[in-house]
C-alpha cells in the first residue's frame, strides 16, 4: 500500500496517454461483459427451462397446426400428468413495429402446466368470466403502461375475425409474473375458446401442446410414445422436453460460445499490444527516475513490482469500469433477448477481472524485464 502513491503518480505521468489507454480497455471490457453476459444469460434461460415439461409441435414445422383432438390422446399417455396448449397469435399494437407476443390458451390448464408463473386465482376466474379477457405479463404491463380494466386493440397479421375485421379488442383482467423474477413476463394471453370461435380459419387447431410429466428422466421415452401415437398420420408430431428444444434452437444459430470466445480473444489480443506499448513507452521515458529509485535502495524486484502494479491498477480499474457499464446495461440487453429480470452473473465479472489481471501481467512483463536490467550508473549518465 505504501507504494501506491508511486504507482499512481507513474500512471498519471502522461495524463492523455493514460486516459486513452484506459478508455480502450474500458470499451474492451464492456464488450467482454456484454458478450459473455448474453451467453451466460442464454445458459441461464436454458437451465431454467423444465425437463419435466414436453413441447409437442408438428413434425413438419412450427407453423403447421395440430388438431385439438390430439389433446385427449396425449393426456392418455402413461407418465403424462397434464396437458396444455398454445395457439400463436401474431399481433401488434397500433403500429407494426409494436409487436406483441400474444397467444391463445386454456388459462385453467396454465397453472398446472407452468408452476413457475405466478397467477392469482382471481385472474383465472376473471378470464373464465370474460370471453375477450387478457392476462398479461408484468414486464409487458410495465413497458406499455397497461393495467387491469384497460381495453387493448390488437391487430393480427394472421387471423381475421368472422366479421372481416383484423382488429381484436381485449380487456385486461389480470397481470401475471414470474415467481423469482427471472422468468420473462412479456406475454399477452387470451382465451382460446373465444379466439377459436372468432377466427375465420384454422378452427379446432393449436400451434403446440405442452405435457407435464411425472418422471423427467423418462422424458425421451414419453416423447417417443407421444410421437408414436401420431406416426404415419397427417398430423405427425415432434416432441422434446423444453430444455432440449431450446438447446437445439440455440445450436441452430451456431456455436455461440465459440463465436464469443473468438471475438473476445481477438479483442484481448489487440488490447495486449495496446497496453504493452503504453507500458513500454511509460517505462522507457522513466528509466532515469527508476534508476533514482534503485539508487535509493529499491531492489530490481521492487522496481519490477512497481511496473506490474501500474499495469494492474490501469487494467483493473478500466476493467472494473467496463464491467460496471456492462452490468448497468445488462437489464435492457437481457430484456432485448427475451430474458428480462436476469442480470450479469458474478462469474462473468470475476472472470473479466481475472482476464484484466492476465492482460496487465503479460503487457507489463517486457518493460518490467527491462527495468530489471537498468544499470544505475548508465541510466543516471543518460546512456
Amino acid at each position: 500500500m505504501k507504494y501506491l502513491p508511486l504507482i499512481w503518480a507513474g500512471l498519471w505521468r502522461k495524463r492523455v496517454r493514460t486516459i486513452l489507454t484506459l478508455m480502450s480497455v474500458v470499451v474492451a471490457f464492456v464488450l467482454f461483459g456484454v458478450m459473455h453476459g448474453v451467453t451466460a444469460g442464454i445458459d441461464q434461460i436454458v437451465n431454467q427451462m423444465s425437463d419435466s415439461r414436453l413441447r409437442i409441435q408438428s413434425r413438419v414445422n412450427i407453423t403447421e397446426p395440430l388438431p385439438y383432438a390430439q389433446l385427449a390422446r396425449i393426456e392418455s399417455v402413461p407418465g403424462v400428468m397434464s396437458v396444455g396448449f398454445y395457439n400463436f397469435v401474431g399481433a401488434y399494437y397500433r403500429e407494426p413495429r409494436n409487436g406483441i407476443s400474444a397467444g391463445a390458451m386454456d388459462i385453467s390448464r396454465l397453472k398446472a402446466m407452468f408452476p413457475e408463473v405466478a397467477i392469482s386465482q382471481e385472474a383465472i376466474d376473471a378470464m373464465a368470466q370474460t370471453r375477450n379477457g387478457a392476462l398479461i405479463g408484468q414486464d409487458l404491463a410495465k413497458e406499455r403502461g397497461w393495467k387491469v380494466g384497460d381495453r387493448i386493440p390488437l391487430r393480427s397479421t394472421i387471423w381475421m375475425r368472422k366479421d372481416g375485421a383484423q382488429d381484436w379488442t381485449f380487456e385486461i383482467v389480470g397481470i401475471y409474473s414470474g415467481f423469482d423474477g427471472k422468468v420473462p413476463s412479456n406475454e399477452f394471453w387470451i382465451n382460446y375458446q373465444y379466439f377459436d370461435e372468432e377466427r375465420t380459419f384454422g378452427n379446432g387447431t393449436v400451434t403446440l401442446y405442452f405435457a407435464r410429466i411425472n418422471e423427467p428422466a423418462r422424458s425421451a421415452q414419453i416423447a417417443e410414445q407421444i410421437d408414436g401415437l401420431f406416426a404415419n398420420s397427417p398430423n405427425e408430431t415432434q416432441t422434446q422436453n423444453e430444455r432440449d428444444w431450446l438447446r437445439g434452437r440455440i445450436a441452430q444459430i451456431g456455436n455461440m460460445a465459440f463465436f464469443v470466445n473468438a471475438i473476445i480473444g481477438a479483442v484481448m489480443f489487440t488490447l495486449l499490444f495496446l497496453t504493452g506499448n503504453t507500458m513500454m513507452q511509460s517505462v522507457r521515458e522513466r528509466i532515469p527516475e527508476l534508476a533514482v529509485l534503485k539508487t535509493y535502495g529499491f531492489s530490481s524486484a521492487a522496481v519490477v513490482s512497481l511496473v506490474l502494479g501500474e499495469a494492474l491498477v490501469l487494467c483493473g480499474a478500466a476493467a472494473a469500469i467496463g464491467l460496471g457499464i456492462a452490468q448497468a446495461a445488462s437489464p435492457s440487453i437481457f430484456r432485448a433477448i427475451g430474458a428480462g429480470g436476469l442480470s450479469l452473473p458474478w462469474g462473468v465479472i470475476g472472470s473479466g477481472l481475472g482476464v484484466a489481471a492476465i492482460v496487465a501481467i503479460i503487457s507489463a512483463l517486457p518493460p518490467a524485464w527491462r527495468t530489471q536490467r537498468i544499470s544505475i550508473v548508465d541510466a543516471l549518465a543518460g546512456r
Partner: protein, 231 residues
C-alpha cells in the same frame, strides 16, 4: 579519527563500444568519519566513477572498498541495494527528483523501504524539509520550485533516512553562484552540526573551498593539486 571509507588498490574499467577504457588504476583512498571531502579533477578523470564506487552504485573490477566496516565490493546487487538504503544519501547535479511527486513525496522515497509507519515517515519528512528550509513547499511539485529549492529537496531526500554517508555529484553544477553558496553552506552545516560524512565531486574550486579536505583525481589516480587550486 577512524576511516569511514577505505579504498585499496581499486581498478575500474568500462567497455564503451568496442573499447575497454580503464578509468581507475590501483587507487587508494581513506575518508575519515565526519569529514567533508571534495574530489576535484577534469572531466573523464574518474572522480564520478570513484564516487559511484564509494556510494555502492557500481562495483570495482579489482580492489577492496570498505565503508563503515563492511566490504561493499563483495556484496551482491541485492545486498548492495539494501546497503545503500541504510547507509548512503545521494545528491545529484540535476537533482533527479521524481517530477510527478510533490516535494514531501520525493523526500519520503527512501523511507518507503523502512519499516516506519506512515505517521513516522511523515514526521521524518517534515523534519528533513524543515532542516533544508522548505517545510512550506512540501506540497509543491519539482516544476513549481526553483533549481536551488529542488536541490534542497534532493538534499532533504538524501538526509531523511539518516545515512552514514552523503555522496554528492556536482551538487552545484546546475545552480547560479548565489544559490550554489546556500546549498554548499547547507552541506557544510550538515557536516558540522549533524556529523555527516560528505564526499563531493566538483569542478568548482569555490565549492571545494567549503570542504575540509580536497583531493585531485587525474587519469584514474589521486594526483597533486594543479597550480592555482588550493589543496
Amino acid at each position: 579519527m577512524t576511516a569511514l571509507v577505505s579504498i585499496k588498490q581499486v581498478y575500474k574499467s568500462y567497455v564503451r563500444g568496442k573499447q575497454r577504457v580503464e578509468v581507475l588504476h590501483g587507487l587508494d583512498l581513506e575518508v575519515e568519519k565526519g569529514e567533508f571531502l571534495a574530489l576535484m579533477g577534469p572531466s573523464g578523470s574518474g572522480k564520478s566513477t570513484l564516487l559511484n564506487l564509494i556510494g555502492g552504485l557500481d562495483r570495482p573490477d579489482r580492489g577492496e572498498i570498505t565503508v563503515a566496516g563492511q566490504r561493499i565490493d563483495q556484496l551482491s546487487s541485492g545486498q548492495l541495494a539494501k546497503w545503500r538504503a541504510r547507509h548512503v544519501g545521494f545528491v545529484f547535479q540535476f537533482y533527479n527528483l521524481l517530477p510527478v511527486l510533490t516535494a514531501e513525496r520525493n523526500v519520503e522515497v527512501p523511507l518507503l523501504l523502512t519499516k516506519l509507519s506512515s505517521r513516522e515517515r511523515k514526521r521524518n519528512v517534515q523534519a528533513a524539509l524543515e532542516l533544508v528550509g522548505l517545510a512550506d513547499r512540501a506540497k509543491h511539485k519539482p516544476s513549481e520550485l526553483s533549481g536551488g529549492q529542488q536541490q534542497r529537496v534532493a538534499i532533504a531526500r538524501a538526509l531523511v533516512a539518516d545515512p552514514t554517508l552523503l555522496v554528492c555529484d556536482e551538487p552545484t553544477g546546475d545552480l547560479d553562484r548565489e544559490t550554489s553558496e546556500s546549498v554548499l553552506q547547507l552541506l557544510e552545516l550538515l557536516n558540522r552540526d549533524q556529523g555527516k560524512t560528505v564526499v563531493m565531486v566538483t569542478h568548482d574550486p569555490r565549492a571545494a573551498g567549503h570542504a575540509s579536505r580536497r583531493l585531485y583525481v587525474d587519469k584514474g589516480s589521486l594526483a597533486d593539486a594543479p597550480l592555482g587550486v588550493a589543496a
